[in-house]
Symmetry: C2
Subunit: 400 residues, 2 copies
């Protein structure tokens, strides 16, 4: 095998960063855009509103016609027509005239103000104005909300309902987003059975397959769970070949045994190339990184917490890069709730739960399913550190 | 019409709470459970691990056989077989014997400890032990992670990848979740066109339809956008009838004009009953609540920010109740960044953006699309308050 020694995490990350995977862009209908990540800058192609718009029901006037109006000496204007919301005004205001407009209607030519109908009197085709209107009263001018040409959303924006609504308001019915990377997920081990199957003696239910599959989906990727490979080369090779054929990368969570680890490594070796055969971190040392048919293949540890920790450290950043969510902050600073001991020379990742401003270590050991279910993420304890004191500030990285 | 006067928000909420809608429960496959809300308590049907499990590769022994072992006087045990992960052990340990086990393998009967292979010597069918093993060394006892009968997840839990992984580990391949309430969404107004269509003079693109549709989806509901009703009774009645036939409730966002509001109200009146015809809040006074064919029908204001504010105040809590997410906290306390003036006697909801610990008011007026796009939520200013001072603590309710 190419490598048998363990390498620092940074070396593993360097390999991952060197993978020649490029984000793909696809155009989706706006109705399918929710939750996706924008792959283009959005510049408004229109003015919002597109025209000078009445914001009240009332009379569109030439403001200057009303400047002399007062309670004692009101101004009378001749009503020459109506414009309702959605209509194109075909009338033009001459001096001394007014047009009835409803809220949302475009102002007719010549008008520059709208007086609320409650503030005037109407008598046949005459409207009586008792006080001056200033230009722009009752009007939202074209483009005052969003002017044509304005950059409104940037590449990399996650589209929530506010953003899709904004795109709708600008007239977009399709939008360019990052395509979801396809990730094949394989569980391995003779002891693993799928939920719903009978739990025969010596067997346990799969957990990593589900955890990784759904973590990829939450992240915005498309996960294809290919099932469970047994502890033989053919079984694993078959699924790995299927994985690289159908997907952009393959994630294999190792059976618990050391033998399984060697199997993953030797199958990758036969089909492609192994770059990393162990990382100097605890837990999660037994991590394999290779390439088959130009597609990255990751062998993740079998213990659930180790598996998820290394997924978070190595795979999630790669997925985020492909989805345009690279800049997303997945860390918070908290205070350690009690003292924690580590071993000098060992770079440790410890699962923690967040409770308010506190980080509470989950000290169940990596074999326990509940460790990662109860934890929100993990903290890193460097090689040089033996003790973290209670109250010490730590950086928590969220799982996923 | 039944009511023409505006009512306090509390009265509107009382009506909404009186609607006889019950959460529905459905069983989905675990593969479709991500993001759904659990509608049952999950009690573990099995021990995890299901058996005493080796946590290292090595030799399963009777610990008592090794108590006298030392460097100078090692104990020799006869290796009588092997058990690998996934196998059912058929061997029983007699005194003085050991069995090779791989990580994850069940312990054979009689064994109570596993000594790592690195810590012993092997010579033919004999293993040489140099120090005592204590009972449970290298063993995870059955049920120590999760004992059978333990309540592990409660009704109302949102299923993230950690929870689906836990369900997998317990053998569940289906799970009961709250069914998604179906909500019909209708935009109204002669001036509204759908994105992708040509923007003729006097027209504007729909925004509320998209905002409400996607807000419902983010919330966990199923939204059916039925399109745009024109300003006539038949157009609106047709869509409303379709909405109540196909969905659990109907949301209509009003055209901007007062006339449209009356139309919504009179169509509900003809098809069912109007309960509320205006709420004493600003913005969003023109809000209609009624029932058609036993299904709630909401007429929301046309201005985007008002529409979304009232959706948040009135509809979202109802949806959360149906989805089992009632207890979700959607409020944070922040400090107002600058002084804000209100009008005595007016109960106002003001959109704000959150910046760190500050709430920044968005003072663009409810007609501006950008108000709600830039805002994260809103603060309430009671009737009795005229001024909120800079630095005052306010409660921000998130939109949606």
């Amino acid at each position: 095998m190419a490598f048998l020694k363990v390498v620092p995490l940074e070396e593993a990350l360097r390999i991952v960063n060197s993978f020649k995977l490029k984000p793909r862009v696809e155009e989706v209908s706006l109705d399918e855009a929710l939750g996706r990540v924008l792959a283009e800058n959005i510049v408004s192609p229109i003015n919002v509103p597109p025209f000078d718009r009445a914001t009240v029901d009332g009379y569109a006037v030439r403001a200057q016609d009303t400047f002399m109006a007062s309670e004692s000496d009101p101004v009378e204007l001749k009503v020459i027509g109506e414009v309702h919301a959605g209509e194109e005004p075909k009338i033009k205001l001459a001096p001394g005239t007014a047009v009835y407009v409803s809220t949302g209607a475009p102002l007719p030519e010549g008008a520059d103000a709208v007086i609320q109908f409650e503030d005037v009197d109407r008598k046949d085709d005459t409207v009586i104005v008792y006080k001056p209107a200033y230009p722009s009263l009752g009007v939202m001018k074209a483009g005052t909300d969003i002017p044509r040409g304005k950059l409104v959303l940037e590449t990399g924006t996650r589209l929530g309902f506010k953003e899709t609504a904004l795109l709708s308001a600008l007239g977009f019915n399709t939008v360019k987003v990052y395509a979801k990377p396809k990730v094949a997920v394989i569980s391995t081990g003779n002891e693993i059975v799928l939920p719903g199957e009978e739990l025969k003696p010596g067997k346990i239910y799969d957990i990593n397959g589900r955890a990784i599959t759904d973590a990829i989906r939450e992240l915005g990727g498309e996960a294809c769970f290919l099932g469970i490979a047994r502890d033989d080369e053919k079984s694993l090779a078959d699924l790995m070949i299927k994985g690289v054929a159908e997907c952009d990368m393959v994630l294999i969570s190792g059976g618990a045994s050391g033998g399984m680890r060697d199997l993953t490594s030797s199958v990758i070796e036969k089909l492609g190339r192994v770059y990393i055969h162990g990382i100097a971190i605890q837990p999660g040392k037994p991590t394999i990184i290779g390439v088959v048919d130009g597609k990255p293949v990751f062998g993740l540890p079998g213990y659930p917490t180790s598996c998820l920790t290394n997924f978070t450290l190595l795979v999630a950043p790669l997925l985020r890069r492909l989805i345009g969510r690279e800049s997303e902050v997945r860390k918070v600073r908290k205070k350690l709730v009690h003292k924690v001991f580590s071993v000098k020379g060992r770079r440790q990742f410890l699962p923690v739960k967040i409770e308010g401003e506190k980080a509470v270590p989950i000290l169940k050991g990596s074999g326990a399913v509940t460790s990662f279910v109860e934890a929100d993420g993990f903290i890193e304890i460097p090689e040089t550190v033996e003790i973290l004191e209670a109250g010490e500030e730590v950086e928590v990285t969220f799982f996923g």
